[in-house]
């Protein structure tokens, strides 16, 4: 498939990508290379100009089981003004599955508790996000995505504003969650160092897919995908 915004020049050209359920895939590439656009098409937020995007066999823009999609948008946590607690953020992850009206039911609250526990934030569950480190804030948003019991988890630039140590911890956490929950994970980042040792597959995007394989097979010239290699 190919795609350009508003009929403009293509941001993505001739993309052919299939992800198998249960895979942990890193989607990397330089800023402006089309990673986020690719993810938005996968999630059905944009429709390709040519070709098609399928999600678990259904057209992505008409996907019927949206409540099973967990999405951590780029820099979502940094745009938050409200003094929300970890518990409040994660509870928002039950919105699609738990209904719009009234307070959360007991069963939904148990799922929220489990998601908070999985990311190791139980001890700070009632603390405002603003009082937590960047890494803890990201884990809270990952727990929010997990609270929907997702079959697909998409994380867009999850290491933005997070120190190196927390990036490593985040990579280990994602690896554990992937193994424990057998969830399909798309990890989108302009750099993939934090997750390189855990991913089975690396997709490099720069206006199209320029590499698709095991990280170990990545040619040396591509090893820092944020650089402007041809």
């Amino acid at each position: 498939m190919s795609f350009g915004y508003g009929g403009g020049p293509p941001v993505l050209r001739d993309v052919d990508l299939t992800v198998t359920p249960g895979e942990l895939v890193a989607i990397a590439g330089p800023n402006g290379g089309g990673k986020t656009t690719l993810v938005r098409i996968v999630l059905g937020l944009e429709r390709p100009d040519s070709g098609s995007a399928l999600l678990f066999g259904e057209p992505a823009h008409r996907f019927s089981r949206r409540a099973t999609l967990g999405y951590l948008a780029q820099r979502a946590q940094l745009e938050l003004d409200a003094p929300a607690t970890v518990e409040e953020v994660v509870s928002a992850g039950r919105l699609a599955a738990g209904g719009l009206l009234g307070p959360l039911r007991r069963r939904d609250r148990a799922i929220v508790d489990e998601a908070i526990d999985r990311v190791g934030l139980t001890s700070v569950r009632r603390r405002p996000l603003a009082k937590l480190s960047g890494g803890q804030q990201q884990r809270a948003f990952i727990a929010k995505a997990l609270a929907g019991n997702p079959s697909l988890l998409v994380l867009d630039e999850p290491t933005t504003g997070v120190d190196v140590e927390s990036q490593e911890a985040l990579g280990a956490l994602l690896n554990r969650l992937h193994r424990e929950l057998s969830v399909t994970v798309l990890y989108v980042s302009h750099e993939f160092g934090a997750i390189e040792r855990y991913v089975e597959r690396l997709v490099l995007v720069r206006g199209g897919i320029v590499f698709d394989g095991r990280p170990a097979d990545l040619p040396a010239v591509w090893h820092d995908p944020s650089h402007q290699h041809v």
Binding site: L43, G44, L45, R66, A67, L69, G70, Y71, L72, A73, A76, L80, D81, A82, P83, A84, T85, E88, V89, S91, A92, G93, L95, A96, L100, L101, G102, P103, L104, R126, P128, F141, K144, A145, G148, V154
Partner: protein, 265 residues
Amino acid sequence: MFDSEFMRLAFAAGAVVSLLAPAVGFFLVQRRMSLIGDGIGHVAFAGVALGYLLDVSPVLTALLAAVAGAIGIEWLRSSRQAAADQALALVFYSGIAGGVVLVSAAGALNVDLFAFLFGSILTVTPEDVVVVAVLGAVGLTTIGLFYRALAGLVLDEEGARVAGVPITFLNLVVTILAAMTVAVSMRVVGVLLIAALMVLPVTAASRLAWSMRSTLALSMAIGFVCVMAGLSVSYYADLPPGGTIVLLAAAAFVAASGVATLRER
């Protein structure tokens, strides 16, 4: 003060307004749509003028105009016909211009109209209190029912959109609530100052709160205290209630900021 019926009515209407305006404003402020109440207020002004022209209840016509204006702003914003600030400006200026033209046509440029613009405790009637109480109850019940959904939208709209949450419907709920709040509040604080009562208590509460729920509760508490105190001061000092209430809300923000600064040291 409570010997006078008009003060009892003003306090009854004020109590409802003081709780509803910050509760609705909470969702607007968190989504960085603080000025939408101002835009809707100007459209409500045109609605008041239309009421005078047609010789029907100005509260009713203001409510209808405010809902139409609110839906218009939301449509312009969400369909990307105009940027959010441009959508607001378009509705804002059209509202005030329409109001001036309609007022002139109705020959109603008098004290009564001034009361709608800036609020007046003398003009609250028993019928107004009934309308305010009913609309206030509907508004607060709606917020109670949809709190979790609206808070979820505040926290992560894009994530909610991906998960299939009906964003457009929930945005419409918020904008109609804002329109209702303007119509309900205009007798007490006036259409030109109502936005302040929706925003200032929330910004003050944000300085002190420790969670979203506590922000909402504190906003309503600050709103209540400001309206009750404002009405009392305006009665004894013979000041316009809308301006007095809003100045107290601004003072509450300054005080809350001071407390927050001291607490951080």
